[in-house]
Amino acid sequence: MNWTETRNSNVNIKNVKLGANVTILDNVNIEASKVDSVQIGKYSIIKENSTIRLPSNGVSNIGAYVIIGNNCDIRSLNIGNRVMIEDGCVLNDGCVIYECCLIKSNCIIPSKMIIPAYCEVGGVPGKDFYIKPLNSSFKKVIEYEAKYLNIHY
């Protein structure tokens, strides 16, 4: 079984529990201090120059079919299945993203914020932050995107 694919040697996946067909691109930094402290579900992909850090309370769970774009800084507690995080996003300490969400590029999600399922989130808090409903089509659309990216890089 194809457990994981990383495109170069400078990605440290020690202590990371990876599902099938996970893709991790160049210069991804996963700071997992304990065994299985970061879990990533099947068909998820982490693009270049992104960082996954542990939240201050506990471990980091990333679901299946999760796409994390380039230059993201992720310190969430939980990311549900079928979540698309575009480039340059910051997910602050302990935030929770439920299933099927679209996080638009350069969005900042504050600490401990909970994003309900089927939402689009964008902007920076205090400036132009918004959360709006996302059509249920995105469940299919994001899963398709993750599967496609798995055979693209």
Partner: protein, 379 residues
């Protein structure tokens, strides 16, 4: 191929006919944002549906508020920052004679709020409500009171007159400057789950199975992406492009397309096979990358030696038909865009199926739909 970023839009408006020379972007939607009404057999945008609140809850404490139609914010201890809408941390401190104080601090910005010592037990919302004593809030409350009483009409009319005469932004600001405006923590806005009906025929297009906040199972779901083909354009060579159609249905579909005069199409009528359970077989060749071993093997399987053939200048233009590629449930059709300045290509698509798609057996005998699809020309 992406169903998320494909620069393909559907013109969706039942009241205004498209002007293909100057397309009103208000009515252009991505396929993933549209519903599909199987009764009317047409895509439906957010402007052509009737939403109804199915259930509502606080995403922070998961309290179900469905039976409270008037409530829009959580009345438990879930507060958000008045400046940036982030969640607020709350710290309680004990004081002499059973006094307590509460300190709110925003998890994101510098905003914080201290209630001071409170002696009477009360909900946090009640405590904050009592502390709202700044001059602006006082004036608001006074105006509200006046609105109830007819005897104070003259004062109300005077205030309204004063407000209506403010025509400059600066004047309005100076009026606001007269007041001291304080900011208080506010209750978290509730999350709504909505059922959707078609505004034309009133049939349900989306409905949930249950109201349990964290469960999102649908009883009825008619999304356009499940019924209409995904279309996209890729560049082949100079002004030659490939127009791709992918059938999402489990039944065979026949399609007819027409476009504007600046476009030369190789084929106007074609059929698309039923969708396949093999993910890779459902992807047009133009979207398979030679950099990935799985995709490359599939390409070799499909094209054999021809994969590395160089296309000579003018070869495609002379024989467009030869470059049509047909897959399990997709087709790629070469098109020539003669006008270089053209930024979008509108095509009219007519779809037909001989059999009803899965789940629609009781609704229709077959799909029969027509709509305008507007595609951005790739650079």
């Amino acid at each position: 191929m992406s169903k998320l970023y494909n620069d393909s839009f559907i013109y969706c408006c039942t009241t205004k006919v498209i002007d293909i020379h100057s397309i009103d972007k208000t009515w252009l939607f991505e396929l993933a944002d549209l519903y599909f009404c199987p009764y009317c057999q047409c895509p439906k945008s957010k402007y052509e549906i009737i939403p109804r609140v199915h259930s509502k809850f606080c995403s922070n404490c998961l309290t179900d508020y469905t039976s409270k139609p008037d409530m829009m914010r959580c009345i438990k201890n879930c507060f958000i920052c008045p400046l940036c809408s982030s969640s607020m941390g709350i710290k309680m401190m004990d004081h002499d004679s059973n006094g307590k104080s509460f300190e709110f601090s925003c998890q994101f910005c510098d905003y914080n709020y201290d209630t001071g010592v409170v002696y009477k037990p009360k909900s946090l919302h009640g405590i904050i409500e009592e502390l709202k004593t700044d001059t602006f809030i006082r004036k608001c409350k006074q105006i509200l009171k006046m609105a109830d009483k007819t005897e104070e009409l003259s004062e109300r009319v005077r205030m309204n007159l004063k407000l209506s005469q403010l025509d400059k932004k600066e004047e309005a600001e100076s009026l606001i400057d007269e007041f001291e405006i304080a900011q208080y923590p506010i209750g978290k806005i509730l999350t709504l789950k909505k059922s959707i009906r078609c505004s034309t025929c009133r049939n349900l297009l989306l409905d949930y199975m249950e109201s349990e906040p964290t469960i999102n199972k649908f009883q009825i779901k008619f999304n356009a992406i499940d019924y209409l083909p995904t279309t996209s354009l890729t560049k082949l060579k100079s002004n030659v492009y490939l127009l791709h159609f992918v059938n999402p249905l489990d039944v065979k579909m026949s399609a007819k397309i027409s476009s504007i005069s600046q476009i030369v199409l190789s084929n106007f009528e074609f059929s698309l096979g039923a969708s396949t359970s093999s993910f890779i077989k459902g992807i047009p060749s133009a979207y398979l990358s030679l950099n990935n071993s799985t995709a490359k093997s599939e390409l070799i399987l499909r094209k054999g030696d021809k994969l590395y053939n160089k296309i000579e200048d003018g070869e495609i233009e002379e024989n467009l038909d030869r470059f049509i590629e047909v897959g399990v449930n997709w087709i790629s059709i070469p098109i020539i865009i003669e006008d270089d300045s053209l930024k979008t290509v509108p095509i009219y698509v007519t779809l037909k199926t001989e059999q009803p798609p899965k789940g629609l057996e009781r609704v229709i005998n077959g799909l029969n739909a027509g709509y305008w699809n507007v595609l951005k020309v790739p650079k």
